[in-house]
């Protein structure tokens, strides 16, 4: 059949496509339905956050970070204020630290829920998406109560948080935890044992340990390959060393492992929130900070474990109230690079399964 050559076809998947999770473009060369070549094109959502930050005071940058990974804005807020605090050697009041942990881990739960829902939607199952968004809605409403916004929180400040939890808020969070655990069982019933789902994701999009390290992957993608690397444990920041939780590691590095880690991490996050609720005490939520925040001259980098991997902020300061250069290490952007390598040789249907499992947020990829 050598003489029966078929022709290749170049297809744009995105920027306006239902499952690219935003404006992301993938130029694939197809032979039949098999992918011969893939070229990811990003930048449609580039807003120049790093450039904008050079003209902004540190507190003014915080709302811009909300818009990077808009599914886990609390963690973005924290990455920035934490780096500034680290650079200035600032003390943060205990209550603020606990509040931060609570909102961050809740945000991680919300973000992972969105992953689960949208991933299953990509695979053609509609219901998990709507179920997952029910619980996310509860979390988002909790955030709305504490900071007045559902998506762009702008909650953290250098030296603490902006608002204390309103009366009864902590109890609501406490009530949410058993509810969420109950729902997790439902998700597992609905998704985790489904033969069709397992067939679609098992052994698909395998990442090797060598590749994961070479591509500097982080977060769930890295841990799915069997590398135990969680910044909350390995490079503890904030008060994470006070909490008892497990780092979930899988071994195959395929899409199923990534799904499982997301699910398990929700449970671990709930454990952290529970412990934080037990330990939190009354007190101020904003420490003593200078009126004008000036980072001492020099350069500073802190990475935190975001929902999608290592979320780092690199500040080069000349001692003024604005950064000389601000670089954001955006996990989605770094993780996405491996896509090309994973896609070649796969077929069209796997494209969606693989892209979905990498778990990107385009706001973060494009900066």
């Amino acid at each position: 059949m050598a003489e029966l050559r078929s022709e290749e076809m170049v297809l744009n998947v995105g920027p306006q496509h239902p499952s690219t999770h935003g404006v992301f473009r993938l130029v694939v060369t197809l032979d039949g339905e098999q992918i011969v070549d893939a070229d990811p094109v990003v930048g449609y959502l580039h807003r120049g956050t790093e450039k904008l930050a050079e003209d902004l005071q540190y507190t003014q940058i915080i709302p811009y970070t909300d818009r990077l990974d808009y599914l886990s804005s609390m963690l973005n807020n924290y990455a920035l204020v934490h780096t500034v605090e680290y650079a200035m050697d600032l003390e943060v009041p205990a209550r603020a630290e606990y509040l931060r942990i609570i909102v961050m881990e809740l945000n991680r739960v919300a973000s992972h829920l969105v992953f689960t829902g949208t991933y299953l939607l990509d695979l053609g199952a509609m219901s998990p998406f709507l179920y997952a968004f029910m619980e996310r809605e509860t979390i988002v409403e909790l955030f709305n109560e504490i900071c007045g916004a559902r998506l762009t929180y702008n909650y953290m400040r250098v030296g603490g948080v902006k608002w204390d939890a309103p009366a009864g808020w902590l109890q609501k969070v406490r009530d949410f935890i058993p509810h969420m655990r109950e729902k997790m069982r439902m998700y597992h019933n609905l998704i985790s044992g489904n033969e069709i789902f397992l067939d679609r994701v098992k052994g698909i999009g395998v990442i090797t340990q060598e590749d994961a390290i070479s591509f500097a992957m982080s977060g769930v993608n890295l841990r799915s390959t069997g590398i135990n690397w969680d910044l909350r444990k390995n490079v503890p920041y904030g008060i994470y060393d006070q909490f008892d939780f497990n780092v979930i590691v899988a071994e195959h590095g395929d899409c199923l492992d990534r799904y499982w880690i997301h699910m398990k991490e929700i449970e671990e996050s709930l454990k952290i929130v529970e412990q934080a609720l037990d330990k939190i005490s009354e007190g101020p939520v904003l420490g003593k900070v200078p009126k004008m925040i000036r980072v001492p001259a020099g350069e500073y980098y802190r990475g935190i474990e975001g929902s999608r991997g290592e979320l780092g902020v690199y500040i080069v300061s000349d001692g003024k109230d604005k950064p000389y250069r601000l670089k954001l290490r955006r996990p989605s952007f770094v993780n996405l690079q491996i896509l090309k390598k994973m896609l070649i040789g796969q077929n069209m249907a796997n494209l969606i399964a693989i892209l979905g499992a990498v778990d990107i947020v385009l706001g973060e990829v494009d900066g």
Binding site: L11, H17, P18, L30, E33, G124, L130, I196, R200, N347
Partner: protein, 326 residues
């Protein structure tokens, strides 16, 4: 019992036929309208939503609003499309979907039914024409997503055509006729779902695939192919593809009822009501699957048809033949 073949062809009986056919068309349209409404409502409830609730009481007129909207939408024909084929494809897809309803025995009086003695074969033969419309639509759009969608549906529908055909042979064997009226009559004592349970399972799975419904909705996998073969279609031309799909859902449910669930037969209630109840149950099952399952992948889909369903259907056939002898 009333049969068209035992009625002499007069002007009056011809008028009766016309009325019968028009009534079936209206029933089909009404079923489709409300099947879509119920699908949205049921799936809404299953997904903790309320579904359509704005147009009319409980959103009952939602489908009419949708039809009206589609009717007044611009009919866009892309420049690069093959114009004639593009215009014809939805019609080619739709006509057979309506034609197959001619042989379904809706009730004990066969006013709305042609008592063809090749009824089952007629259904299979005519329904296969729809594949042509789908492939043509995908090809004529000159759109890559449509092309892939069209190709996928061709491969899928022809592959599942075979287990669908094989699963029915068992029923034909038991009743000794291809006439649907006779098949229903044969189920007076026992529905064929009991001796033909394997056949029924194969039939429902293959039927789901023929309907391009979840988990076999690859041809229009929206997360991969945007909308598959009807990506370029808009307005009422798109509506005809949708209509085709839902008329087939109705036809398939009716066929399942007739072949396996005893058709219109049942105690106490009028025969047409029994038919409605059974068909509605099958349609509901089709919707239910959609709310639960993710989508299969192309290669899995194909190997499932050829490596699982066809051997199982063949085995079922041998089993039925063997047991019938005993």
């Amino acid at each position: 019992m009333f049969h068209w073949e035992s009625t002499p062809l007069t002007g009056l009986s011809f008028l009766g036929m016309v009325i019968g056919a028009v009534v079936v068309l209206l029933i089909a349209l009404a079923v489709v309208t409300y099947a879509i409404y119920f699908e949205r409502k049921f799936i809404g409830w299953m997904q903790l939503r309320i579904g359509p609730n704005r147009v009319g009481p409980f959103g009952l007129f939602q489908s009419f609003a949708d039809i009206l909207k589609l009717l007044i939408k611009e009919d866009v024909i892309p420049d690069k499309a093959d114009r004639i084929m593009f215009l014809l494809a939805p019609v080619i897809a739709f006509v057979p979907s309506f034609m197959v309803l001619a042989v379904i025995p809706f009730s004990s009086t066969h006013v709305f039914t042609a008592g063809l003695n090749v009824g089952v074969l007629y259904y299979l033969a005519i329904s296969a024409i729809t594949i042509l419309g789908v492939v043509l639509g995908g090809w004529a759009s000159n759109n890559k997503y449509s092309l892939i969608g069209g190709m996928r549906s061709a491969a899928q529908m022809i592959s599942y055509e075979i287990p669908l055909g094989l699963s029915i042979v068992g029923v034909v064997l038991l009743s000794g006729s291809l006439n649907m009226n006779v098949i229903v009559a044969h189920q007076a004592k026992m529905w064929f779902i009991i001796p033909q349970i394997i056949g029924f399972v194969v039939f429902i799975i293959a039927g789901l695939a023929e309907l391009n419904r979840t988990p076999f909705d690859l041809p229009e996998a929206e997360s991969e192919l945007v909308a598959g073969y009807h990506t370029e279609y808009s307005g009422f031309r798109f509506a005809f593809f949708m209509l085709t799909e839902y008329v087939y859902a109705f036809a398939l449910a009716a066929l399942a009822t007739t072949l396996f669930l005893g058709g219109w037969s049942g105690p106490f209630l009028p025969s047409w009501l029994w038919f409605v109840i059974k068909t509605a149950a099958v349609i509901f099952f089709l919707f239910w699957v959609r709310a639960t399952m993710p989508r299969m992948r192309g290669d899995q889909l194909m190997s499932f048809a050829w490596k699982v369903l066809i051997p199982v259907a063949l085995f079922n056939l041998l089993l039925t033949g063997g047991l019938y002898l005993l």
